[in-house]
Amino acid sequence: MASKKLTNEKLREIHSLMVEARVLEERLIRMNKAGEGYFWIGGPGEEAFAVPLGMLMRKGEGIQYDFLHSHYRGSPTILAMGGKSIDTIRQMRAVSTDPYSGGRNFVNHYAIKKWNVVPVFSVIEAQYLQSIGTAHAQREKGCKGITIVTGGDAGTAEGDFASALVWSSRPAGTLPLLMIVTNNEYGISTPWAGQHGEKHVADRGKAFGIKTNVINGNDVWESWEALEEAMDYVRTERKPYLLEARVSRLYGHSSASGAPRWNEEDCLDVFEEKLAKQKVMAKDEMKAVHEKMTTKITEAYKQVQQEPFPDPTTIYDHVWAEKDGDKGKDEFARQIGIDFTLDPPPPAHH
């Protein structure tokens, strides 16, 4: 299913991003195992789909650009948008320089205002509900931006997924909303097969007249084309689209399950073989990319190790929207009862 649309240059770009994402995630997993970060969850195995997604988005701030409501497997998309690996490592290490949460949140929980990447929340499927809001804001006349939301297969059992279908297809105002489900056939330890009577998640869109598609998300070309088509449709029709991508989960669910390597199709292997066969890149070239990324990520990792943990008093920051440079500190909350920041315990376990 090789598309002609993808130039060799683009393919090399995709390859580089996929490798970077993979090397990054493998570093995060190692950090977790070494106790340098308390929890890992991320996107290895979804690169063939998630990198094209990031590259195809209309990137910018405000309703004229695309909003992304991502689940916690979005690292390849964020890198493809231009995010820096080192920032993800910072969030993993929970240092004060973590730009996404200031050392507060799990890794791969992004928030990038200038690119409309709204906060990634751990609460499964809530993103589908919030996505109808940014999409609604984009119903403004002449608006070019669309909203994209991603989530897993198991999460579609939450009523919130259905709510997104209902709200996006309302005759009184359809929404420019691209709903993506990455189906890896698992929710943590629970196989898809026992819990889902529907053949494809995407079929659930049909009753609402929503356009749907099911694709092999392990294939770069198929993913690119499907995304392009879906985005074009949503952007021009201002109507919803439900896209299901079948993907692999290469290191299990998260560090909670030990993050061992699983025996599933590896989209990066598949891609590299095709690139070689099509003579887009030689094996050597690819190896060089891997080495380059490994070096880059190792250096980033080393730098992050030097960076400080957040100051205890920052817990009160950004409770509120910032006003006159006050960092949105909730001084009021601080004054209730005992202010533990006056007396932090000895750093036994950092």
Partner: protein
């Protein structure tokens, strides 16, 4: 004088005209009904949502994340309890993202008993809302405050929970809203939608020349000056407390320092503190169920900071810890505090020997 429903309606009108409100929505919020309590009649940006509170709160959050301003309604707070997770998310979006995003939205919802609402039209939400960090929580007890708090809520860059005591929805105030016409009849003719379904279609409101009038979030109203005992309340119990305080002053010469809290978070601790330091006697009155009640928080803080100024035990009066408010008045009247209960407690507070 405008009723509270009319006051909020005018505030919303001001919001869509002058404060960049693009969406006012919820179940039956748009035409033809204009809200279960007429609050959203005639508004340009009001629209009907699907019957889905989770969708409503999610939609509002998303609109806020996109940088637009909206006011969403949950028809009765009794039906907001499936959205607590989403309210928490709206409240923590700024904090979790370390300030990248803020969510400048208003969610309004009618609360409390007093209309024979039975189990599912009588819930309170003040204590619950107080447990959701990142939100400001307000609750007016007069039309003028309702107007001023709504403007402040809309202007606030944070999520604001706007609780409307439904028993006061039709009550008229004693202070005129800036811009409001002199005659009630005139106001009704201008902004109340006709009842006849056919007339509704043709109808267009004529809005008075509304003005920018705000009530600062976080500031209590010092309703009555007094020296013997402090009474802090809000919402539906507020006019009851006021009436009792006035009467007891006249009849028994008891002098109450009375506050309408108006904002539940962040509440006006300075005002309470100054008063309790003066009186040494305090009661917190509301109607939410009494375990882990917001009044219990105020009482705890009083003990934290003012214990040695207290002359008698501090008091909290709330609703009973039972699964609901029964529809029969014989039940409702003993489930949430009524005037006679409040009066008895206020008298005891003021007269208990120190």
């Amino acid at each position: 004088m405008a009723s509270m429903a009319q006051a909020i309606r005018m505030a919303l009108r001001y919001g869509e005209e002058h404060l960049r409100v693009t969406d006012i929505f919820g179940e039956d919020v748009g035409p033809p009904l204009g809200g279960a309590f007429t609050v959203t009649q005639g508004l340009t940006t009001a629209w009907n949502s699907p019957l889905d509170e989770r969708g409503i709160v999610g939609m509002a959050t998303g609109i806020g994340l996109a940088g637009k301003r909206c006011v969403a309604e949950v028809q009765f707070c009794d039906y907001i309890f499936n959205t607590i997770d989403l309210l928490k998310l709206a409240g923590n979006a700024s904090w979790t993202s370390n300030g990248e995003f803020n969510v400048p939205i208003v969610i309004m919802t009618p609360v409390g008993s007093g209309i024979h609402g039975s189990i599912y039209h009588s819930h309170s939400f003040d204590a619950w809302a107080a447990r959701i960090p990142g939100w400001k929580v307000v609750m007016p007890s007069t039309p003028l405050d309702a107007y001023g708090l709504m403007l402040s809520a809309i202007e606030d860059p944070n999520p604001v929970m706007y609780l409307i005591p439904k028993a006061l929805m039709r009550a008229r105030g004693t202070e005129r809203i800036p811009g409001e016409p002199e005659s009630d009849k005139e106001l009704r003719a201008m902004i109340d939608q006709p009842v006849d379904p056919k007339a509704i279609k043709e109808w267009k409101p004529r809005w008075p020349k509304l003005q920018h009038y705000t009530v600062e979030i976080g500031k209590a109203k010092h309703v009555q000056e007094g020296s013997t005992a402090t009474v802090v309340s809000y919402g539906r119990q507020m006019p009851i407390v006021e009436e009792i305080a006035r009467r007891l002053q006249a009849e028994q010469g008891i002098s109450y320092d009375v506050f309408d809290l108006r904002t539940i978070y962040p509440y006006d601790w300075e005002a309470i503190k100054a008063s309790v330091e003066k009186t040494g006697r305090v009661i917190f009155v509301n109607e939410d169920t009494e375990i882990a009640n917001f009044g219990e928080h105020l009482l705890r803080r009083t003990c934290d900071e003012l214990f040695y100024s207290l002359k008698v035990r501090p008091r909290m009066l709330g609703g009973k810890q039972i699964p609901g408010v029964g529809i029969c008045p014989t039940l409702e009247d003993v489930s949430v505090p009524q005037a006679n209960h409040i009066e008895k407690e206020m008298v005891e507070l003021a007269t208990e020997p120190a």
